[in-house]
């Protein structure tokens, strides 16, 4: 089986991409890394009339501006793994991207593509969410900033307009007294996550207890989501001991209602949320205090 026929145009800038998207409307799809799109085309699950190739639209490298790590949307997963700025300033992403696909996927797949694809089990999406990242976009109406927490609408659907494309992803750099952790359960290394948890913990300025914490969940519903903040409130002011964390993790698990599929039942996913949230919060706290030391 091969894809249905389509036409192809390569653009040299995001403005050109937007122009082409507006021109072709719903008949067109952006191709960046192609690692999610091409399988759908190969299986004839999608039949766009035109592909707009944006690989040549941007040559920039990751950079740090103030307290933000600026990742061009076309940054390949492999760069997220290897680039010194990402490893230093956003170790959560550099760690989580080890779970993304394989060598071939990471050589082509991009961060912009991953966010725009909005897979509910996406590793990078969960990290971007828990770190409070923002997506810069360009569209028919010009540029805008979309916080990642507003980006994922439902299954494989984002808040982007039809002729809007992500150009940059801005992630707050890791701060002192901040810890992180990424935990994933997969049946085989490099598979799509059954459940993944990304956690961020910030310590109080003075003492080694939690000031704030955030947990993002992948694989539990139709999109990557943040655990409700009130569920994590119980961590504030504590030293994140085993019992406290277990209670918070149990509450997070209770708050989700995952559906069952071929890989796991809803109940088992809920169990994984509890187990992985526990491990993630404990590890994030440990990193925060270790970083503070």
């Amino acid at each position: 089986m091969v894809s249905a026929p389509f036409d192809y145009v390569a653009v040299g800038s995001y403005d050109e991409a937007v122009h082409q998207l507006a021109r072709f409307g719903d008949d067109a799809k952006i191709i960046a890394g192609g690692q999610s799109l091409l399988p759908m085309l190969n299986l004839r699950l999608a039949k766009p009339a035109v592909l707009i190739d944006i690989n040549g639209a941007d040559q920039r490298e990751p950079s740090v501006e103030g307290d933000l790590l600026r990742l061009p949307a076309l940054t390949r997963h492999r760069t997220l793994l290897e680039h010194r700025l990402v490893r230093r300033h956003c170790p959560l992403v550099a760690d989580a991207v080890r779970y993304v696909g394989n060598v071939r996927v990471r050589n082509r797949g991009t961060i912009g593509g991953s966010l725009a694809h909005a897979d509910p089990a996406a590793e990078i999406g969960s990290c971007a969410l828990v770190l409070g990242a923002q997506a810069l976009t360009r569209g028919g109406g010009g540029q805008r900033v979309v916080p990642v927490r507003d980006l994922f609408v439902t299954y494989l659907t984002t808040a982007l307009d039809q002729s809007e494309v992500i150009t940059d992803v801005l992630i707050p750099v890791i701060r002192p007294r901040q810890g992180w952790s990424f935990q994933e359960m997969v049946r085989r290394t490099s598979d799509f996550a059954i459940v993944a948890v990304a956690a961020r913990v910030d310590l109080d300025e003075q003492a080694d207890f939690v000031a704030s914490a955030e947990v993002a969940l992948a694989g539990v519903t139709d999109r990557v989501v943040l655990a409700a903040p009130e569920l994590l409130a119980g961590l504030a002011g504590t030293a994140a001991c085993e019992e406290t964390v277990a209670g918070v993790a149990a509450a997070i698990a209770e708050s989700v209602d995952p559906s069952s599929d071929v890989q796991a039942s809803g109940d088992y996913r809920r169990r994984l949320v509890r187990v992985l949230s526990t491990r993630a919060l404990r590890e994030a706290f440990g990193r925060a205090t270790g970083a503070a030391a």
């Binding site: 389509f6 192609g34 690692q35 190969n42 071939r104």
Partner: protein, 166 residues
Amino acid sequence: MTMRNLLLAVNGRDHHVWAAPSASLLDVLHDELGLADVRYGCGEGVCGTCTVLLDGDPVSACLMLAVQAVGHQVVTLQGLMRPGGAMHPIQECFLRLGASQCGFCTPGMVLTALDLVRRCGRPTRDEIRYALVGNLCRCTGYTKILDAVEEYAAVAEPPGGESAAP
């Protein structure tokens, strides 16, 4: 859909092919250029049998369009052969250590392993496992493949040496 004339650089030679814009790199390499070492295995990018090196980096040819490869260097397993028909040392390791049974996964395995050794020099066995995780094999159980890559890494030149050239 208008056919396009594409100039593809494959295994060090230029080829002019006519292809539809929607033609995959896999189909053009296999069917138009007759490269039997780039193989359809799944169309999803998960099995690794269509692996080629694009500017030295392993990619799934089934997840790239032929037109996207214009302006890049494509290398397939056959591109590793030396002038005069001698095998690349990594191929000799695979052959001697029994790392190939049915052989269908072999091109993808070899190219991916070669890329790893070029970048890392002496990868650990676990690093080799991780690099090859996207290349499925149903016959060998992987052990002899890992052995062959370890053996090659032990005799290969360090990264940056002659063997790092595509």
